[in-house]
Amino acid sequence: MNKGSKKVNFLRNSGFQTVTASLICIVLGLLVGYVVLLIINPKGAAEAIAAILKNYLYYPSPTAVMKYLGTTLVKASALLMCSLSVLFAYKAGLFNIGAAGQYVVGAGAALYFGLKLHMPWYVCIVAAAAAAAVTGGISGALKAYFNVNEVISCIMLNWISLYCVNMLLTRAKEQSAPYTRPLSSVNKGALIPTFGLDKIFANNGFVTIGVPLAIMTAFAVWVVLEKTKFGFELKATGMNKHAAQYCGMRYRRNIILTMMTAGSLAGLGAGIFYLSGIEQWMVQQTSVPAMGFNGIAAAFLGGLNPIGTVFSSYFIQHITSGGSYVDKTIYCAQISDLISAFIIYCCGLVLFFKIRLNRWLDDKERHAAKTQKGGGA
């Protein structure tokens, strides 16, 4: 009896439930990916799914493994910032699908300050965060004062930002190619310093202090949400905005501040990514980079917990990068996108099963209490 109740308590633990749910989502997503691979061509499906899961472990030499682990970490840190942005807004009841656009604006500001204005890296990063905060703030203000649904306004802003940034960065592009000029040749000072981190990852110069910075930001977000008054007000507004307003919390100000913070997080992610010099911006891009949308996947997969998103962001980036190692003569890299999209879909169903599980546990406990009482009398 005692053992049984202990087990029930274990199942009730919300942390345990969240982790299990995320793991189930991952397994389901991979399973769907595997089935799709099987349908396309049953021969190489097992190898392909293994390649996705292995990612950089595909290389036999340990130096190469370390090097590509570094690259994955750089990308994952940008993704982590985007997912923190989504998570932060979601806690206040706002769905920040605009992380993608804010990320774009951040990239635009960082690169423009670096390439055109020749600013040092810390100015570029602040510029990225500030510009993205303004973009997020627009959606927030529209929501607070004009009741414009933030999802729609964010999506419109995503496209507007993409076109604006393309126009802006055309001025800093190479003469013959549609890419922005590399930071390493134009302005070395705009590259984020590595402080020796590149030595750990087999001289992979893209691994900068941006990676630990992103992880530290995750902790900072946790502290703000759980330990400060602002975090509390924000969550209260998310749960019931009328009640929050009635308690004297300034609902409008909170919404705008939330969206600005969320925006600056995404912008910071873009700064960390593009100022490492790992990629140049393609000024003829016709679709918004997937980073912001993958951020939604990572945020929900991480159980909407800042620390959880550190792991989920890494995982999502791991399989996204792994997609490029599948046998291209049979399959395509987008299979990873399919898997992460399906993982988000599964995350949507998690709440339902959590409620069901808790109800089932309630029933069981009630039943147990009844029989015990009956036995005693």
Partner: protein, 313 residues
């Protein structure tokens, strides 16, 4: 000028049809953010049908089978939203977003698999359908008349009649306004909501097909449908969830979208020397401004986005 009218009409048809789809879903109480993804899958269904149909078939038969393929593809894909939102009480925005990501990814995977199966060197995500596309188009002088234009008008008229003049439409609206009340008079809320989602899936799929047949004769599925599903949502909100207003708004938005294709043909616009990017942005900027003015007194269905729970009062 003729070109502007032509493009305006075809883009307006897409927007109107997809927005009407969203309108049905939301009147039933389910927010359909996933229209973008549904459009891509509908377009895929239609494009593959056009690609694989034998060239000897009669024009009407081609037309009907292609339209049916896109409708069906849209319906099947919209079931992802239906099941999650209606049976599993999922967050509709989250699931809609998942659908938007799932649609293009699935389309690219499918198209590439087909392309590489035919020719191992072909790793593109493009489907060409130049031949079969011709059945939808009639050239009247210089004007390229597209059969989808009258079809869109027909859909608008039908939507008006169904929503306001039939038992089904009124019941559907009841489920979006106050599902508990609807249930108390014996309406099956779950079934009505499924009907709304299915209609939106069908129309979304059809809209995707029209979008890819407008102007071009092959489609690269990596590009998706460039935010048209979201523009349609803006049209729906600006149209205040009413078919007639949606039709008029679609025309307005269609014109702004068409401008980016044909602005070089106007001397005054070409003289301004604005980069083409500005015209590409125009529909999105306009819709953002428009939303500011109409969102305050929104006529959105009251219970949209809230999962229906039979036990709740």
């Amino acid at each position: 000028m003729l070109l502007l009218i032509q493009y305006t009409l075809i883009f307006a048809s897409v927007l109107a049809i997809v927005a009407i789809g969203g309108c049905f879903s939301e009147h039933g109480g389910v927010i359909n953010i996933g229209l973008e993804g549904i459009m891509v899958i509908g377009a895929l269904g239609g494009a593959l049908m056009m690609k694989f149909l034998p060239g000897t078939m009669a024009a009407t038969a081609v037309m009907i089978s292609v339209i049916l393929a896109s409708l069906l593809a849209g319906i099947v894909f919209s079931m992802f939203l239906g099941v999650a939102a209606i049976n599993f009480n999922a967050d509709q925005t989250l699931v809609g977003t998942a659908i938007n990501l799932l649609g293009p990814a699935a389309a690219v995977v499918i198209v590439r698999a087909i392309n590489t199966a035919q020719n191992p060197d072909n790793v593109s995500s493009t489907v060409a359908y130049g031949h079969a596309k011709k059945v939808f188009i009639v050239n009247i002088g210089k004007f390229e008349f597209n059969w989808f234009m009258p079809l869109a008008f027909l859909v608008l008229v039908c939507a008006y009649i169904v929503l306001y003049k039939t038992k089904f439409g009124l019941r559907l609206c009841a489920c979006g306004e106050h599902p508990q009340a609807a249930d108390s008079v014996g309406i099956n809320v779950y079934r009505m909501r499924y009907a709304g989602v299915i209609i939106s899936g069908a129309l979304g799929g059809l809209g995707g097909l029209i979008y890819i047949t407008a102007g071009v004769s092959e489609w690269k599925f990596e590009n998706g449908v460039a935010g048209f599903g979201f523009l349609a949502l803006a049209v729906m909100i600006f149209g205040q969830w009413k078919p007639i207003n949606i039709g008029l708004t679609a025309l307005l938005f269609g014109m702004f979208r068409a401008l980016s294709n044909v602005y070089t043909g106007f001397d005054t616009l070409a003289a301004l020397k604005l980069p083409s990017t500005v015209y590409n942005m125009l529909p999105y900027i306009i819709s953002l401004i428009v939303l500011v003015f109409v969102s305050k007194k929104s006529r959105a269905p009251k219970a949209e986005g809230i999962p229906y729970d039979k036990g709740q009062r």
